[in-house]
């Protein structure tokens, strides 16, 4: 069950491919076309920044890449496998085993401590308790100072919560890290620390990173910048 249909043999095909992906919110006159046909290819080991004005569809696209949402039309191939043809549970396993996601709104569990939040993905992976604790502590230390591991999200600042969310996304050593405005709540010093951490993940562990950001400074860390405008990709650079 834990081994997913994504097979190793087709690993030379691009890691992520979007073909004519659209997304519509609402119906009829109130329909909101958030994505109007996205074609995108991201290879294994790339570090991609996604930019664009507010409301241009960046988060919508990230949710689809993260298998959290399904496109209205078009195809999403992950390692050559059509995600649209996978079952609910298979998509869940894809998220569990390959993806790490940092949400724009963090989405931490409010009643559990920072450490337990970071441990959560490992619980579903079936990692033994001792190893789980060790890895969660390491991930937390990587993103920030020790000391808040037993705090609940309500007892942490926005920036601290954001770093816990990052720790939760990287604790599993995912193939792909999808980060939606992960430095939005951090001051520039902390942002730079986080970006350096991501860069090291990207270069040392060859984790593929797709990161939404509004700040050109942050985007500069990426190898490629994709710009969204009104639900389509306006330009690519790098």
């Amino acid at each position: 069950m834990n081994t997913i249909v994504v097979s190793k043999q087709i690993s030379h095909s691009p890691l992520i491919e979007l073909h004519g992906v659209t997304k519509v919110y609402g119906t009829g006159g109130a329909a909101m076309h958030a994505l109007r046909g996205i074609d995108l290819r991201i290879d294994q080991g790339e570090f991609v920044a996604v930019m664009g004005p507010s409301g241009s569809g960046k988060s919508t696209c990230m949710n689809i890449l993260g298998c959290l949402d399904t496109p209205a039309s078009g195809a999403y191939l992950f390692k050559g496998v059509d995600v649209g043809k996978l079952s609910r549970d298979q998509r869940a396993l894809l998220r569990r085993n390959y993806l790490g996601f940092v949400f724009q709104g963090y989405n931490l569990l409010n009643r559990t401590s920072a450490l337990e939040n970071v441990e959560l993905p490992l619980i579903y992976r079936g990692t033994p308790a001792v190893e789980r604790r060790e890895r969660a502590l390491k991930a937390l230390e990587a993103v920030g100072p020790k000391g808040w591991k037993s705090h609940t999200p309500g007892e942490l600042s926005g920036g601290q919560q954001q770093r816990v969310a990052i720790a939760r996304a990287i604790v599993t050593d995912p193939k792909v890290l999808l980060a939606d405005e992960l430095t939005g709540n951090l001051d520039s010093a902390h942002s730079r620390e986080i970006m350096e951490l991501l860069t090291s993940f990207n270069s040392e562990r060859s984790i593929t990173i797709v990161m939404v950001t509004h700040e050109p400074d942050m985007a500069a860390y990426a190898g490629r910048i994709i710009r969204f405008l009104d639900g389509v990709i306006d330009s690519e650079s790098g």
Binding site: D69, D89, F103
Partner: protein
């Protein structure tokens, strides 16, 4: 509450049974109000003999008379009630002797100074000592203890049924009351015979014996314990039903409370479900977690409630002096009700949430 009501019903029926259920009580005078009765000539021994002789279908007749006395033993004294008895008093009242013996007929006939003590009197006068063979004094009479009655405990009305002394009727009349009056004749009707018929026969006989003209009212009353029993158990059954209804309403209100809490917690937790799905939890893993939580929560709630309720019932039963009767049916119903409400309103909304796309569940407000 149902437990308490059930306890009261059982208690009343038991007490009636301990009185003897086919019992008719004949007293002089008529009840003219709560605890008041019209003055009337008392019965005498002949009346009791006439009933025993002339009325068919009766199994026992027991004339008796009572009076309050102070009894003395050594340096202890105790105010109680002494009852002079004759005939088959033990039989009609369902009394049994715990130790010692009943009166023998020679003692009854001769009016010997012997007595049988109720458990309370025995305790007050003798403590742990064995009273058999000792002499106690009541009024001017010195009386030898020959027996102890088995304890009956308190009555529904809260009176101590063991606070009495029995002596032969003749002894009572001669040496304590100083007259030949009889205050009460109790009659046991044979099993399977209509007590109404016997009651009518007795009424007729007594009217004749007391020379009551047809235009006059009875100067005595014959009460059927069965009627009283029915009335009393009826009352307590109504009480049980009423308490049951109150309990049902509180159960319903409690159920709505649980439902609300569960619904609120599920709405709150829809986002949590979204988070778990987003990081790779399978629908069934999330569902299992919520199902287990709902079961554990509502079972603990149910158990806690039941323990609380039973404790309160035992306490209340003690205060109200009704026996505690454990009604397992009610407990099971209460438990399953709370468990069902918890699981239904905890699990099903969670299932709804776990079937959404993760992003939908995450956006849930």
């Amino acid at each position: 509450m149902v437990t308490l009501g059930g306890g009261a019903t059982v208690q009343v029926s038991e007490q009636i049974a301990s009185l003897g259920s086919n019992l008719l009580m004949i007293t002089p005078g008529q009840r003219i109000g709560m605890g008041q009765r019209s003055a009337a000539v008392a019965f005498d021994v002949d009346d009791a003999e006439a009933i025993a002789r002339d009325i068919g279908s009766i199994s026992a007749v027991a004339p008796s008379s009572s009076q309050g006395v102070t009894v003395v033993f050594g340096n202890k004294n105790w105010s109680t009630k002494v009852t002079g008895i004759d005939g088959q008093y033990f039989k009609v009242r369902n009394w049994t002797i715990e130790s010692g013996r009943e009166f023998v007929s020679s003692e009854l006939r001769a009016g010997k100074a012997v007595c049988i003590l109720g458990a309370t009197v025995r305790k007050e006068l003798f403590g742990g000592q064995d009273p058999l063979g000792s002499n106690i004094r009541m009024e001017k009479v010195s009386c030898q203890v020959i027996g102890i009655l088995e304890a009956k405990g308190q009555s529904t009305m809260g009176t101590d049924r063991d606070d009495l002394i029995l002596i032969p009727l003749r002894t009572f009349q001669r040496r304590i009351a100083g007259n030949q009056d009889i205050g009460l004749i109790q009659v046991s009707v044979q099993d399977g015979v209509s007590t109404d018929k016997v009651k009518q026969d007795i009424e007729q006989l007594m009217r004749v014996r007391r020379h009551i003209s047809p235009s006059e009212d009875d100067s005595f009353s014959v009460r059927d314990m069965k009627e009283i029993a029915k009335m009393l158990t009826g009352t307590t059954q109504v009480l049980t039903a009423l308490l049951g209804a109150v309990a049902a309403v509180s159960l319903l209100v409690g159920g709505i409370g649980i439902m609300n809490i569960m619904l609120v917690s599920v709405t709150e937790r829809t986002r949590e479900i979204g988070v778990r799905l987003a990081i790779g939890a399978l629908t069934r893993e999330v569902l299992m977690q919520f199902l287990v939580e709902a079961i554990v929560l509502s079972s603990f709630g149910g158990l806690f409630g039941i323990v609380l309720a039973l404790t309160a019932s035992v306490g209340l039963a003690r205060v109200l002096q009704v026996p505690f009767v454990f009604n397992s049916g009610i407990v099971v119903i209460a438990f399953f009700f709370s468990a069902a409400v918890g699981v239904i309103f905890g699990y099903f909304p969670a299932r709804q949430a776990a079937r959404m796309d993760p992003i939908e569940a995450l956006r849930h407000e």
